[in-house]
């Protein structure tokens, strides 16, 4: 198992804030919009540097999406910022008609996704957003795993033409990816090569997959770990190549098992390479109040859940 270490923990949303500032410096057409959550989205540095390129919309997310769509017409590259729940479910029809169907170059940037939002509870903890967004034709869907990857992804989507949903989170988590990485949309990242089982993880579950991989190695199981940061378009080639080798897969995501990364992998495998698969995901439920760690444990999104899923899927694959 390749060794991953970290010296600090940071939130992915701060990676977004840093990436937004850099994207803004690189391209004067980059603008930002926020629906009364500037601090939560870490947009302060961008606003300080480019006050005339920031639009405070107020608590009016539908209007924010529409204004962003309109800004693209004048050649702007708008980044909208609010919580994942208000970035997707609340404004689905606005995104569908004014952004996706109209093919507008809007970057919908969503913080506080999933259970790790914590104490605010289920009203704010969306676990359906990946599904909502990936169903929209032409929408690129990205869920990043640490500060550095989020920063790199934010810079990369500014250079990409087309609507993007960028999903990140609230809690501080280990920073373990390369600070100088080049983020390639739609390209899987090989975290660890292995032969016994494939673990496909996204977002906050990537670090947990690494922890699981270390424990599995101690148990004599050689896990291949792939980070799928871009859920759509899916890097089908990387996934198929890995599962051809290992014969079984565990998918891990902080999302409902319905509509998430796991279903995308299952759809791919069902037509191309039928293989045993286990899902580490929320079992079709809403969340609740609690600390992020408590919630990840209660809803089955811990390192141990990945290990158990690996054992189960290998058994099913007769390994």
């Amino acid at each position: 198992m390749k060794k991953y270490t970290y010296t600090e923990k940071k939130d992915t949303r701060s990676g977004f804030g840093a990436g937004l500032l850099e994207a803004g410096k690189k391209n004067p057409e980059v603008v930002a919009l926020c629906a009364d959550l500037v601090g939560s989205l870490k947009m302060d540095a961008f606003i300080k540097e480019f006050p005339e390129r920031f639009f405070q919309i107020g608590i009016a997310e539908a209007n924010m999406i529409g204004i962003a769509a309109g800004l693209t017409i004048g050649g702007k590259i708008p980044f909208t910022g609010t919580f994942a729940n208000f970035s997707t479910g609340r404004v689905y029809d606005q995104i569908r008609q004014s952004v996706a169907y109209s093919n507008k170059n809007v970057k919908i940037c969503a913080s506080h996704a999933g259970l790790t939002l914590g104490e605010d509870g289920a009203t704010h903890q969306i676990l359906e957003d990946i599904g909502l967004m990936k169903m929209l034709p032409g929408m690129t869907v990205i869920n990043t795993c640490d500060y550095n990857q989020t920063k790199a992804a934010t810079i990369a989507i500014a250079e990409f033409e087309g609507p993007v949903y960028l999903r990140f989170g609230r809690p501080v988590i280990p920073v373990f990816t390369d600070p100088d990485q080049k983020f390639e949309i739609g390209k899987a990242w090989m975290v660890n090569e292995g032969t016994d089982v494939t673990i496909v993880a996204t977002g906050h579950m990537v670090w947990k997959a690494i922890e699981a991989g270390e424990k599995l190695a101690e148990m004599g199981i050689d896990a291949e770990i792939i980070n799928i940061h871009t859920i759509k378009p899916l890097d089908e080639e990387a996934i198929l190549k890995s599962i051809k080798k290992t014969g079984c897969v565990v998918t891990a995501e902080e999302h409902n098992k319905f509509g998430g990364l796991g279903e995308s992998v299952a759809r791919l495998l069902s037509t191309e390479l039928p293989s045993p698969q286990e899902f580490v995901a929320v079992n079709d439920s809403f969340g609740e109040s609690g600390t992020p760690d408590q919630l990840m444990t209660k809803y089955g999104l811990d390192t141990i859940n990945i290990i158990e899923a690996v054992q189960k899927v290998m058994k099913r694959a007769n390994k």
């Binding site: 209007n63 204004i67 769509a69 702007k76 169907y101 093919n103």
Partner: protein, 281 residues
């Protein structure tokens, strides 16, 4: 003035002929609101707006128009074709398979002149505001126009946009409300009354003007007056009274022709009433 009032009225007559023929041709679509807005759309595209029919999405240096109540696509398509964005013969494909003239306007089929999809109501004002703010960032002095149904104002997103535009001094925006008092299920005052739109918009900080959208002289004057009000710190709202179905007597003033196509006999009657033609497609 690019055209005399009489010339504009003749164009509007042809646009009305196009509308009833398009809707008859596919036996679907929305003639009522389209006919009511024929004079406004003609005035806008043949007298008021500055634009190039060599279509570029960004429209930099051009006035832009956004149709929020996308169901009145027949009047939009007719005016775009008559203005020269595409061949008038293409109007015959309206709502048919493989057409660029979809039931509701879309950028998806790359029809020149269209910059956003609309149809799901209440989204156009936000888009127009965004386009207007982009113009300000680009130091582009041209104007953004938008059109909205009155019933459409029942959608909440409008009020987010109506609150935002004056606060942010979006004063390069002229939004028009097609105030015909009708919606699918009946008169707006029976379905969900709008009460005083003028007072509502003024309370939100708009500069409100009123006009008669079925009097060419009045609507041309109103739009030029609205233009003179731009750049003064407030968005402009043109509260435009129209009669749904205007120009075809049996369609006038009733919500029953909101989304119903005429039969052969009704088409002949309508065309006889709209006898000024510049040549049908």
């Amino acid at each position: 003035m690019k055209h005399t009032i009489n010339e504009l009225e003749d164009i509007a007559s042809q646009v009305r002929r196009d509308i009833v023929r398009m809707v008859h041709g596919c036996q679907s679509g929305h003639p009522g609101g389209s006919l009511g807005c024929a004079d406004f759309m003609t005035a806008l595209y043949f007298d008021v707006m500055n634009y190039s029919t060599d279509f570029k999405m960004d429209g930099i240096g051009e006035d832009l128009f956004f149709l929020s109540n996308g169901h009145i696509s027949p009047v939009f398509y007719s005016v775009l074709a008559r203005a020269g964005y595409f061949e008038v013969s293409e109007l015959a494909t309206f709502r048919k398979l493989n057409s660029r003239l979809q039931g509701h306007p879309t950028t998806h089929e790359h029809l020149p002149g269209i910059r956003i999809a609309s149809g799901s109501l209440g989204q156009g004002m936000s888009v127009a505001i965004g386009a207007a703010q982009a113009k300000k960032l680009n130091k582009d002095k041209s104007i953004v126009y938008s059109l909205h149904g009155d019933g459409e104002l029942q959608e909440g997103q409008n009020w987010e946009a109506i609150m935002y535009a004056p606060f942010n001094k979006v004063d390069n925006l002229i939004s028009t409300i097609d105030y015909n008092g009708q919606q699918i299920d009946g008169p707006t005052e029976k379905v969900l009354s709008l009460e005083s739109l003028q007072a509502k918009f003024e309370a939100f900080g708009w500069h409100v003007i009123t006009s008669n959208g079925n009097d060419m002289d009045d609507i041309v004057k109103a739009l030029h007056y609205a233009k003179s009000l731009t750049g003064k710190g407030k968005p402009i709202l043109n509260l435009m009274s129209t009669i749904m179905g205007n120009g075809v007597d049996f369609m006038m003033g009733s919500h029953k022709w909101h989304g119903v196509a005429p039969n052969d006999e009704q088409l002949a009657t309508a065309l006889a009433q709209l006898n000024t033609t510049l040549k049908d497609y």
